[in-house]
């Protein structure tokens, strides 16, 4: 009985630690494991990339891959699809849009279908971050 209680306590403690490790308040209301701040300039470099390239986004995150497509939905929206090589072959999809005042905003996600983890580009107070999170929070059935 004491052994059972001990195991129950350990399991509860591990669950609590796991929940505590998932920051939910910043920058998005979804749990994530890690984040990488990326500059708008580095994101803009991705839109300028051609063919095969390597572009650093942050000290801990670089993209090596090939541009699959670049499309303009209108004068104000450009979409970019990149097949990465160094990130398990995941697809990086970025969208750049500008409003009537010329302010540019980026959205994006890095996913490999059926993998457990994925990344989401989020903006908070003028700063951009790639957050690494469970893919089921990004793609769902």
């Amino acid at each position: 009985m004491n052994t059972l209680k001990t195991w129950l306590c350990i399991c509860t403690l591990l669950c609590c630690l796991n929940l505590a490790a998932q920051n939910k308040s910043f920058p998005e209301n979804i749990p994530y494991q890690s984040r990488y701040e990326v500059s708008p300039e580095s994101l803009e470099n991705l839109f300028k990339a051609t063919g095969h390239f390597t572009i650093p986004l942050s000290p801990d995150l670089a993209i090596t891959g090939t541009v699959q497509s670049r499309t303009e939905k209108s004068n104000s929206v450009t979409n970019l699809l990149i097949q990465t090589e160094n990130l398990n072959g995941a697809m990086l999809s970025l969208s750049r849009s500008s409003n009537t005042n010329g302010l540019v905003h980026y959205t994006g996600h890095l996913l490999k279908l059926h993998e457990q983890k994925g990344m989401l580009l989020v903006e908070k107070e003028g700063h951009y971050y790639f957050i690494r999170t469970e893919q089921r929070y990004l793609v769902a059935e």
Binding site: T12, C15, L19, Q22, K24, N29, I30, P31, Q68, S69, T71, K73, S74, V77, N79, L81, Q83, G89, M91, S93, S95, S97, T107, H109, L111, K112, L113, H114, R136, Y137, L138, V139, A140, E141
Partner: protein, 318 residues
């Protein structure tokens, strides 16, 4: 010989007619006044340049559904969005005209082998991404059942509008089920649209999402709010003792009861402001009384829909 040839020609004409009827998608719009658009695509096509295209182009076969079935599915889906300033359309031209950050294409196709066995799949929040990433409904997995198809499509649309699954947790915060089947209220025959919407009456709900038990996901608030920017169809006109909507006239509103005059038969649902379904039923032509004794006072939302018209209205119960 001549007779056989005539039979062959007639058979050919009959087959051609059947195929053309099957191939035609009726042009339907639930709320043309809205710019924000959900396009129900039953026509199939080639999808490329999206996050789904890891292994190249995806050829989506046409849904192969009869026009009457498509119209029925459209009606069922649209009924879940009567609250919002959102157009559910089957017209590709309407989708093309919609703002790129306020539109989504839902592809209805028989097979989803490239993804795996699932009733559908979508990217959460893709409605506002601006890159035309589509969402999917796989018909063969749904046994071709129009009820299931409509429910699955609504669920996927919810994902594209930023909704996570509605989940069930125990008192310690451990997830029991990622998809709620309505277990939180075993006495009701209702389930969340973002849970398992197939076997019970499904509606938007307010509950614990799959991201964790520490927060509440209010489906209707999230759909209407940022970044979708959809909003509700009509603004609140508080304090008005009586008001007229298309086909319905509110006679009286007082604690526990709303009295309405209806010009026709309509199905209705009454929600509180958090999206909780208070009661539902049918409004008959003439005088009707709706009672919701468990309802809180304040702002309520009445949805109503019939063959010829539908709508929703915020009302103030005094």
């Amino acid at each position: 010989m001549k007779r056989s040839a005539t039979h062959i020609i007639l058979l050919g004409l009959f087959t051609t007619t059947l195929l053309s009827v099957k191939a035609q998608t009726p042009i339907l719009n639930s709320y043309p006044a809205a710019a924000a658009t959900v396009y129900l695509d039953f026509n199939g096509g080639v999808v490329d340049g999206s996050l789904w295209n890891e292994h190249g182009k995806i050829v989506a076969e046409p849904a192969g559904l009869a026009p009457t079935t498509i119209a029925w599915i459209h009606k069922k889906i649209a009924a879940h969005f009567t609250l919002f300033n959102l157009n559910i359309t089957t017209d590709p031209a309407v989708y093309e005209r919609a703002p790129v950050h306020q539109r989504i294409r839902i592809i209805f196709t028989p097979e989803g082998d490239w993804w795996g066995p699932a009733p559908g799949v979508s990217a959460i929040g893709s409605f506002a991404w601006g890159d035309d990433t589509p969402a999917w409904v796989f018909l063969n997995y749904l046994s071709g059942n129009p009820d299931y198809i409509a429910a699955s499509a609504t669920h996927q649309i919810g994902h594209t509008l930023g909704l996570q699954h509605q989940s069930v947790y125990d008192s310690y915060g451990i997830m029991i089920s990622e998809l709620s089947g309505g277990e939180n209220n075993v006495l009701s025959n209702e389930a969340p649209l973002m849970g398992i919407p197939f076997y019970k009456t499904a509606s938007w709900s307010s509950g614990t999402p799959s991201t964790g038990p520490g927060s509440i996901q209010n489906d209707t608030t999230l759909i209407a709010g940022s970044p979708n920017g959809i909003g509700y169809r009509k603004s609140l006109s508080a304090g008005a003792p009586a008001k007229t909507m298309d086909g319905i006239h509110i006679e009286k509103q007082y604690a526990g009861t709303i009295e309405l005059n209806s010009t026709d038969d309509y199905a209705f649902r009454l929600y509180d402001i958090s999206g909780r379904l208070l009661t539902q039923g049918t409004l008959r032509k003439g005088w009707n009384q709706i009672q919701a004794t468990t309802a809180s006072e304040g702002v309520l939302i009445l949805q109503w829909y019939g063959d010829s018209a539908s709508g929703s209205e915020k009302i103030m119960r005094q």
